[in-house]
């Protein structure tokens, strides 16, 4: 008859024996070992040059085609904003249809089907700002997902698992940049993922490829020879809404204080 003391002792020993080999495997995880020995890991970063953007909307169209976003829905993974500052000090901004069709008139959308016509001579300053997911270093969307359906990859991109997302919308609420929405077909949270299926194969994102003016650039910012990384390190760039502590990884050139 085994005594209680022995029973506990043997159980603990048994658990220890089972646990040791498992931890040994973890210690010499070959992929981690390889990664730590190799070059500095990849960190995808994005650079938007607002001075070069003309608001043609090619990027938005290309993104929708590439990422299975129905053409006529009123939401988009990326969009272009137009800011118009009038001589009487007003700041007006809009992004009709996410800027997909370009900005060809001086009519500013005010919502609820209302518009305001701005004459060219009344404009003090006007510019375009493309927006996309900031792939934050400290992403609030990942923090709040109750099931882990949205997660950050090793190379810094935040992805969504459409098959696991329960559709609670907490990530949409948590994003200070408003980049997320519900996909009308999959009914799961949707957002820009830097065309992860393309960049991991050495291609550019759809929007970068479509931009005729080079206003959008993507690169590995940890690579010393990378153009994007070099500009971020050596020139004056800024990010959006850094007060939220999310550490966004989309950098902007020529950002104005009116930009929201």
């Amino acid at each position: 008859m085994i005594s209680r003391r022995d029973f506990i002792k043997y159980s603990l020993q048994g658990i220890a024996v089972i646990a040791v080999p498992l931890t040994a495997i973890e210690i010499i995880n070959p992929s981690k070992l390889f990664a730590s020995k190799g070059a500095k890991k990849i960190r995808w970063g994005f650079l938007v040059d607002t001075e070069k953007c003309v608001g043609c909307g090619f990027c938005v169209k290309a993104c929708q085609n590439e990422n299975e976003i129905p053409y006529d829905i009123n939401a988009s993974r990326t969009w272009v904003e137009r800011y118009v500052l009038t001589k009487d000090g007003k700041v007006l901004a809009d992004s009709p249809k996410a800027g997909r069709d370009g900005f060809i008139t001086g009519r500013i959308e005010l919502g609820q089907g209302k518009y305001q016509d701005i004459k060219n001579e009344d404009i003090e300053k006007a510019f375009f700002v493309p927006k996309l997911c900031n792939q934050c270093e400290n992403p609030p969307c990942v923090q709040v997902c109750p099931v882990g359906a949205t997660y950050q990859t090793e190379d810094g991109v935040v992805l969504v698992d459409r098959k696991w997302c329960i559709g609670c919308g907490y990530c949409i609420m948590a994003c200070p940049y408003g980049v997320r929405f519900f996909h009308p077909v999959y009914h799961a949270a949707e957002k820009c993922n830097f065309c992860y299926h393309r960049i991991t194969k050495g291609l550019k994102t759809a929007c970068v490829q479509a931009c005729p003016f080079g206003a959008r650039l993507i690169g590995n910012i940890n690579d010393p020879n990378d153009e994007v990384g070099r500009i971020i390190r050596t020139e004056r760039v800024s990010v959006l809404k850094d007060e939220f502590g999310t550490k966004p990884q989309v950098y902007y050139r020529g950002l104005s204080k009116e930009v929201r």
Binding site: V144, I166, A174, V179, A188
Partner: protein
């Protein structure tokens, strides 16, 4: 169409992907969990702190809290884009999320309420099951009743003085543990909102406490209201049975005492606690408002236009005036009557509902751009399943659910025990 587009009206500069994603069901969610927590705290006032006047209300509030408990997670289920994937929260809980632990907190709380109920009604289960066990020729209905109550006893038939005393002790302990857990369950709902740093209106550490205080107000109000309705309906029923032309024989023991309606003394005492928690809730809410205005950080400009202009009717008229001030005055005027209490209670509950509305919908009334607005047009007549569940129909269904459940549960857990009556008064 993107989810949320159908009921969102945008004004000025709003990001293209912004809509009212959290609609009426997310208003119902904290409202319902608040009622659960409030009802439980009310019942614990008797069990833990021994406030004798609440004895009759305590038993009732506990059963009602249990009925409400089943309705509390339903708004979330109706709100999910993939309701059948809701189970994923238990399979891969991601604990950095405030929602991930909901299941654990909810079931822990449910277990506490269920066990407390069991200890409270154990004697009753045995008393029903034993005679049925001995009866030889049971009918079908009696068989079902026997099986239900026999299982509910969990095989414990001991009704000795000593074991009943131990039951009471267990109830006290469970009610004691239950108070912090109930507050946690609801404070937690407040944390879900208060921790969203992207939302200028929600982000405040006061949110969980404000939620708990107003939850207790709404829970007490609902319990009092249901108590009054149940007692009055009972009175009318018995009176109609007493009509001379009725052939129904009344129990000879049923005295004049039994047919009286709601006790004004019970209402008066409970109303005092209602007022106490209402004062806490209003104080904290006003503190939050004053603090925001005084510090006036970046987002105050847009918050001010939402609070003082866009949502003025909802906040200052429906919530503060009709929901707080008027019930406050109604309960404070001496000589409280049942009728006045009913008006005050309905208004107090509406006030708490409007507080939830103003937090959830009001928090989405302005854009992340801080220079645009969104308005929620609640779907009244449903066009499809989505506009039903996230519209008036869904909200009303959720609100009715606990009453139906309570009606069913009251068959098993008799809320008004005849033999206890003389002892209570």
């Amino acid at each position: 169409m993107v989810h949320g587009e159908i009921w969102t009206l945008k004004e000025l500069f709003v990001y293209p992907n912004e809509y009212i994603y959290w609609s009426i069901q997310i208003v119902m969610y904290p409202f319902m969990t608040g009622l659960v927590a409030g009802a439980f705290v009310l019942s614990s006032l008797y069990h833990v702190f021994g406030i004798k006047e609440l004895k009759e209300m305590a038993r009732f509030a506990l059963v009602f809290s249990f009925a409400l408990l089943f309705a509390a997670p339903m708004p979330i289920v109706l709100h999910l884009q993939h309701p059948f994937r809701g189970i994923n929260v238990f399979m891969t809980p991601h604990f950095t999320s405030a929602i991930a632990a909901f299941g654990i907190v909810f079931f822990a709380y449910g277990a506490i309420v269920a066990s407390e109920l069991w200890f409270l009604y154990r004697k009753h289960f045995v008393e029903v099951a034993l005679p049925l066990k001995e009866k030889k020729d049971k009918g079908l209905f009696e068989w079902i009743k026997f099986l239900v109550f026999c299982s509910l006893t969990l095989g414990v038939y001991d009704l000795s003085e000593e074991s009943l005393k131990r039951d009471e002790k267990a109830i006290k302990v469970l009610a004691g543990i239950g108070i912090p857990v109930a507050c946690f369950l609801h404070g937690y709902a407040g944390f879900i909102f208060g921790s969203v740093k992207a939302n200028a209106l929600w982000m405040t550490p006061l949110m969980p406490i404000i939620f708990i205080m107003s939850a207790i107000v709404s829970g007490i109000a609902l319990c009092m209201l249901t108590y009054i309705i149940v007692m009055e309906v009972r009175k009318i029923k018995i009176k109609s049975l007493r009509k001379p032309w009725r052939s129904v024989r009344l129990d000879s023991e049923m005295s004049q005492e039994d047919v009286k309606g709601a006790e004004i003394s019970v209402i008066k005492i409970t109303a005092k606690y209602l007022l106490l928690f209402m004062i806490f809730a209003i104080t904290l809410e006003l503190l939050d408002l004053v603090f925001r205005g005084y510090t006036a950080v970046k987002h105050w400009d847009i918050l001010r236009t939402v609070i003082y202009q866009k949502d003025f009717t909802n906040i200052f008229l429906l919530q503060y005036t009709f929901g707080n001030l008027i019930p406050f005055v109604l309960f404070l005027i001496p000589g409280l009557t049942i009728r006045r209490a009913i008006i005050g209670l309905v208004l107090a509950m509406m006030g708490v509902f409007m507080m939830r509305w103003n937090v959830v919908i009001g928090g989405q009334a302005f854009s992340l751009t801080l220079s645009g607005y969104m308005e929620y047009i609640m779907p009244i007549v449903p066009r499809d399943w989505e506009t039903f569940k996230e519209g008036l129909g869904g909200a009303v269904s959720i609100f009715v659910m606990p009453f139906v459940l309570f009606w069913i549960m009251a068959r098993i857990f008799p809320v008004f025990n005849a033999e206890e009556k003389p002892a209570a008064h």
